[in-house]
């Protein structure tokens, strides 16, 4: 497989002594699967259901992020609407601040949100709108937090957007009353309640006797986030997006954090035990043991049965952050599958080193990949399953390969023990589907067609 020459150091195979060079911008001209700062901020803050999310920029930024993330809310659904200042040529010349102020005035009294987030975009950044000043004015006028998000797309990749979103959250945290928060309390950071996953995790924590103060941001609520500084521990699930917030809360409020993953039996159990051990409470530990025992026992037979078919099948994955990649490699191994390729959009060097240890020798590890490379690897390694997001799905299908969305468009919760069973069923359903044999390349390979 020929690589863009600048990219040659971004791809290695496990067992190779070379380190993956990563954390660098995509080469201009590549068909990168990555997005921008705005995208990063938008996906992180979007699930807060009782906040107003106003995109200050041209219509596209608002239109493409209108309800694309299956982040479920148990109540208010204000976040699922698309609010936009629809910047036009006039504002490009004369500035968009007045329009932004008017937009907030037209929105806040009507919808009475608990807080408003105003997302800056490339355009409003480059024309120099003082979004912060307008937000300050609106906050004073309406008496709710109106928080600017510095998410101009050109600032960098999604990673920068995550930081900007975390910075916005820090403006809410610490402004609420923490009375009544017990000693066994946590915040969940970096779960976005895709397909209801945070409800699964919250359910486990409740059974352990641990109180969840705020979830950031899946099924998130402004008032909960305002009192998040009262929690005694932060559980960081999506490390890439939320570690910076956890660090900030540690510095400012002395709240320790643990980085965990709830994907896969091993990691999920490890996550819950880590929380239990942190509190050093015998009763919590006992309840956690019981929970893990019970949940695992329910899931293992399902997996054992599915594994019979999946043993020896080959998978490839391309995901946003590295933590998800770690979990997926382990989860796939539990299903008897081999990983031929693992890539991430935003992994760091240490992450790739860890991936190397996790993966079998020969596994391709790629930072910031593109469809040309991926399609070649998928065919070369005769992969049976590809795990990725919206842009990866049709590539897999064109090649006649099973696919599992582990991104915004997943419809079935994959977190937790029940999520592992769901994952196993989904993987099994797609890998074992007879439809791939209808595709000429796979039909030839299986000998079904000359």
């Amino acid at each position: 497989m020929k690589l863009i020459s600048e990219r040659s150091k971004q791809v290695v195979t496990a067992g190779d002594a070379r380190a993956v060079v990563c954390d660098r911008p995509s080469v201009a001209g590549s068909v990168t699967q990555r997005a921008c700062t705005f995208c990063g901020s938008r996906v992180v803050l979007y699930p807060i259901g009782d906040a107003l999310h106003l995109v200050h920029g041209p219509v596209g930024c608002a239109a493409y992020t209108w309800d694309i993330r299956g982040a479920l809310s148990s109540g208010m659904q204000l976040h699922r609407n698309s609010f936009n200042t629809d910047i036009r040529e006039t504002e490009v010349i004369f500035g968009g601040e007045k329009k932004l102020a008017r937009a907030l005035r037209e929105l806040i009294p009507v919808h009475r949100p608990k807080a408003a987030f105003v997302y800056a975009t490339c355009l409003t950044g480059v024309i120099g709108d003082d979004v912060e000043a307008v937000c300050r004015g609106a906050a004073a006028e309406f008496g709710i937090p109106v928080i600017p998000v510095q998410s101009e797309g050109f600032r960098g990749t999604k990673k920068h957007g995550y930081s900007a979103a975390c910075a916005a959250l820090t403006q809410l945290i610490g402004t609420g009353d923490t009375a009544g928060i017990g000693p066994l309390s946590v915040n969940i950071l970096g779960d976005f309640n895709i397909a209801g996953e945070i409800w699964t995790i919250k359910g486990y924590l409740e059974r352990m006797g641990v109180e969840v103060v705020a979830s950031m941001t899946g099924d998130g609520r402004v008032d909960d986030i305002r009192r998040a500084h009262g929690a005694k521990l932060n559980i960081v699930q999506c490390a890439g997006s939320m570690t910076s917030l956890a660090r900030m809360m540690q510095e400012k409020y002395g709240i320790p954090y643990v980085q965990v993953s709830f994907f896969g039996l091993e990691d999920c159990a490890a996550a819950l035990y880590e929380v239990a051990r942190h509190f050093a409470d015998q009763a919590v530990l006992e309840r956690t043991r019981a929970l893990v025992r019970e949940e695992t026992a329910a899931v293992l037979p399902v997996m054992a049965e599915l594994r019979r078919d999946l043993e020896g099948k080959v998978a490839a994955l391309y995901v946003g952050g590295a933590f998800k990649a770690f979990s997926l490699v382990k989860a796939l191994r539990q299903l008897g599958m081999r990983v031929a390729m693992a890539g991430t959009q935003t992994g760091a060097q240490a992450d790739y080193e860890h991936l190397k240890e996790l993966c079998d020798a020969g596994t391709i590890l790629a930072d910031d990949s593109n469809p040309l490379e991926m399609a070649a690897w998928l065919a070369e390694r005769d992969v049976d399953l590809f795990i990725g997001g919206v842009k990866e799905r049709p590539v897999a299908y064109k090649l006649g390969i099973g696919f599992c969305d582990h991104n915004h468009e997943r419809k079935i919760g994959l977190a937790g023990f029940v999520g592992m069973a769901a994952f196993a069923r989904e993987v099994h359903a797609t890998v074992m589907s007879p439809v791939w044999k209808l595709v000429p390349r796979r039909a030839r390979a299986s000998g079904a067609q000359p």
Binding site: I4, E6, P25, S26, V27, A28, G29, S30, V31, T32, A35, C36, T37, F38, C39, V59, G60, C61, A62, A63, Y64, L78, R80, N81, S82, N84, T85, D86, I87, R88, E89, K98, K99, L100, A101, R102, A103, E106, V110, H111, C122, L123, V126, G153, F154, R155, G156, P371, L372, A379, V390, K391, R393, Y397, K398, L399, G400, L438, R441, A443
Partner: protein, 457 residues
């Protein structure tokens, strides 16, 4: 989720809620995908390209290939020249397209990157391999809407490539407008039925409806070739379908290559298809082939057979101006009442045209350009309709108000079929009519009390 929509409209001067449009670059990307061996290139931040690719993928369920200049904070200050130069090298080295179609974004427009100069520089520095070309279009997101970007990109191809050699050919140029790959294939079927040599630009058929072979083809076999676009300058006539999407390129062909042009409505529905077919008959000087007459007859037959289901039904329509104009006329001709008609796109001509179409049948219709779906919802709350026709985004209103929705236009994110079965022409009209009839009949069945529940309809 839409419980927050109040029935009474308040004045909104600075705000769009639930847009019925998106920005120019995605239209430019769609148009460029209809050129064979073309890699669309987004000159801006990475997110634009990622969003456009994702959105097109959601609509077509196909891989969408496009590259980006990957702007950084530095490029936003110093300009994106270095990025585009690097991009050109990378693209030809890695992806080996016949042609790169650069479109700009709000960012590169605002900082003032001069694309022709940069392309010239690439040329001088030998970055463009022999026989390969780069074209561009200016597509600032803060002007117009997604159809403007489509129009600008098609115009860009014409501007860079179409040339007159002085010898007129027998060919006719056809600019199909923003329609589905299936529609483009159908339009070619019609011109073939008239034995009319045709160059269609763009042509996304066999690109965005590519068959599954088990191989990933970076450049699928369809698309207008560069040679064909060059030859457009020698054509004897241009038919442009849809004023918003196609008239600019047709006008440029007249100006640049003296190819006469006419602008027709998108041939959606009976009357608009009649006008398209008679234009083909006039151009070829032949009678309409019997097969096409028969297709027309079938459409009329179904409209007549089922008129009691559609007659008098109130309908709300939104989408892109060219589509909505044709649909409104079609609905009117089937005796439906389009009471709410809206586009997110801009152009006063839209309101004038719709009002003219509805002058006799629905004189009090709500008509709006630069509207949004929040407004559409408010209209529907005040005056409910029997049926909604529009994009997937209408499903929230459909659910909130319990009104059936027939999906039409761009984007359709939650159903398949639109890219495989045409809506243009008589057969396309038949498909549309059956969709509308089925939606009404399904609803009638669902709501009928036991005693009125009918086996035969």
């Amino acid at each position: 989720m839409l419980e927050m929509t109040p029935a009474t409209s308040t004045e909104r001067t600075a705000l769009k809620i639930n847009p019925a449009k998106t920005c120019q670059p995605v239209g430019a990307m769609y148009a460029a995908l209809g050129v064979h061996g073309c890699l669309p290139h987004s000159h801006g931040s990475q997110g634009c390209c990622a969003y456009h690719r994702s959105h097109l993928t959601r609509h077509f369920k196909e891989p969408i290939m496009a590259s980006t200049s990957s702007f950084t904070e530095g490029s936003s200050v110093f300009g994106g020249m270095a990025n585009l130069q690097q991009a050109v090298s990378t693209i030809f080295e890695m992806y080996d397209p016949e042609i790169i179609a650069v479109h700009t974004t709000c960012l590169s427009e605002t900082i003032g990157d001069d694309i022709p100069t940069i392309i010239g520089k690439c040329q001088n520095e030998g970055k463009i391999p022999e026989g390969k070309v780069i074209v561009h279009a200016n597509t600032p997101s803060y002007v117009g809407f997604h159809v403007t970007g489509f129009s600008n990109m098609v115009k860009g191809f014409v501007k860079y490539l179409a040339a007159s050699t002085g010898r007129r050919s027998e060919a006719v140029n056809l600019i199909p407008g923003w329609v589905e790959p299936s529609d483009m294939a159908e339009l070619k079927r019609y011109t073939a039925a008239f034995n009319l040599p045709t160059i269609m630009l763009p042509d996304t058929s066999s690109v965005l409806d590519a068959p599954a072979t088990g191989e990933h083809s970076f450049y699928p076999k369809g698309g207008t070739t560069v040679a064909q676009i060059r030859a457009m300058g020698d054509a004897r006539h241009t038919l442009a379908l849809g004023a918003w999407a196609s008239s600019d390129a047709a006008e440029l062909l007249t100006k640049q290559c003296e190819v006469p042009h006419e602008v027709l409505d998108l041939p959606i529905g009976l009357a608009a298809t009649d006008r398209f077919i008679s234009a083909l008959a006039k151009l070829t000087g032949t009678a309409v082939p019997q097969g096409i007459e028969d297709e027309r007859g079938r459409l009329v037959d179904v409209i007549n057979d089922m008129h009691q289901y559609l007659g008098g039904k109130k309908v709300a329509i939104w989408g892109d101006p060219d589509q909505v104009i044709a649909l409104t006329e079609f609905c009117r001709d089937m005796d439906m009442k389009p009471v709410h008609v809206l586009t997110g796109g801009n152009g006063q001509a839209f309101e004038e045209r719709i009002k003219a179409i509805l002058a006799d049948s629905v004189p009090g219709a709500n008509v709006k350009q630069q509207g949004d779906l929040f407004l559409m919802h408010q209209w529907i709350k005040k005056e409910p309709v029997d049926l909604m026709i529009g994009t997937t985004y209408g499903k929230f209103i459909s659910r909130a108000e319990d009104i059936p929705l027939v999906r039409f236009g761009w984007p359709i994110l939650d159903r398949v079929g639109h890219s495989y079965f045409p809506s243009v022409g008589y057969t396309g009209g038949l498909r549309l009519a059956t969709q509308l009839i089925s939606a009404i009949q399904e609803r009638q069945d669902r709501d009928a009390p036991d005693h009125a529940f009918e086996l035969v309809m």
